[in-house]
Subunit: 220 residues, 2 copies
DNA sequence: ACCCAAACGCAACGCTTGTTGCGTTACGCT
DNA sequence: AGCGTAACGCAACAAGCGTTGCGTTTGGGT
């Protein structure tokens, strides 16, 4: 029972996520993946992406180094796998009753998620990993595509309330949400200016002003 | 004369940049730095940031490995130094005669710079390096701060032409330019959706719509 | 022209990373 | 319950990374 290490993670219960596309997705394989996932998460929050090593994951998960290299290929694959699991959560965009309220709550979620190291580390780790490996970049693209698709319901509700003009198909909800989120990530990872609530306020205000000016209308 | 390697770079002429803050900024020190800079640039464009190694720079620059570790600390420092030198160029923002034209030309510059591997590699390398080392992050912040300061003249001219309301001090030129650039970098490095000219068009249109709605006015 | 120290070259080294061949475990199927 | 093989553990290894001590070159001041 090498899984029963000092962390004593919940390996056999609900987090024992299966691995689709393989011939033996359950049992030990799932336990291994869950233990590895926990070790990667703790390693990321404690040492960051640059400080995360395969041997660290091997020690803290009880899974042998060889297995990690075989199944995940290296640190990039380990981090990319984290993102796949993160994309399977049950997150739904905020529903405050107004378009501005929804976007503002969403922007604040982003700001606060980067203020907390425990949640900021995995996110920035995958963004960093995407620079090094194509699988990580692909996982990142898929993650945000799915995430912004979920957010389109915000715009749908706003159109239904009459806050935005035209029928539902005439406005690109994904583009609007992306426009609100882009300045935050830009400040966080490109210009490295840091994030605060005024930044979230302005990002939402800019995106909304553009939306009301009709910048996100598709078609006619 | 170990500097005279197979590249035979221009080591003693204008590119022999001095190193401020040291006791011996000129002569051999400057030649070494210039040779290293060229080797880092070629290495980045050929192998990318993850494929850039200190020994590669040592071989292709004629500078010994030990010297690189001592002066630059590692790959992060080498890449950060590239950025310092890049910030000392004579770039000026485009001047097309209209605010939209200037911003659009600027956005196209960004798009085209990422389409060309020779110019995209150093930029993305530094952004990637900023994830791993604080000096690189600081160099990145300083670089873009200085770059956007240069861009403020675009807004100044627009105000002088009467394209934007209010006196010069009432509008945040840096914020406007950042708003136009953010979606491009966001698509390139976060969502990994890739860049094209329509993306530049929309980014400029969104930023301009927000500007005309008064979203970047400071003060009253 | 001289001197001193800053800056660099050199060789050797310990350490970490990633790989390989083989043996063992246990999942899933009949 | 029994079997075949997917999946994992193990030990040993090769290669590359980063460091250290010492000697040599050379820039800059007097």
């Amino acid at each position: 029972m090498p899984v029963d290490n000092e962390q004593n993670v919940q390996a056999t219960d609900g987090t024992g996520v299966a691995r689709p596309g393989t011939r033996r997705p359950g049992g030990r394989t799932a336990r291994t993946r869950a233990a590895v996932r926990d070790a990667v998460l703790t390693g990321l929050t404690e040492h960051g992406y640059s400080g995360l090593t395969v041997e660290y994951v091997a020690e803290h998960s009880g899974v042998h180094k060889t297995t990690l290299y075989r199944r995940w290929g290296g640190v990039d694959g380990l981090v990319a796998d984290i993102l796949d699991l993160a994309g399977e959560d049950s997150w739904t965009p905020p529903d405050t009753g107004s378009l501005h309220g929804d976007l503002h709550a969403l922007a604040l979620e982003v700001v606060h998620s980067f203020a907390d190291p425990a949640s900021a580390a995995p996110t920035s780790a995958v963004i960093a990993a995407a620079f090094q490996s194509e699988p990580a970049a692909q996982a990142l693209r898929a993650y945000y595509a799915e995430r912004f698709t979920r957010c389109e319901v915000i715009v749908d509700r706003a159109v239904a309330r009459g806050e935005l003009p035209g029928p539902r198909s005439a406005i690109d909800g994904g583009a609007l949400v992306r426009a609100a989120a882009a300045p935050l990530f830009f400040r966080q990872f490109i210009t490295r200016e840091g994030l605060d609530e005024p930044a979230a306020d302005q990002a939402v205000a800019v995106a909304l002003a553009a939306a009301h000016a009709g910048m996100f209308t598709t078609g006619t």
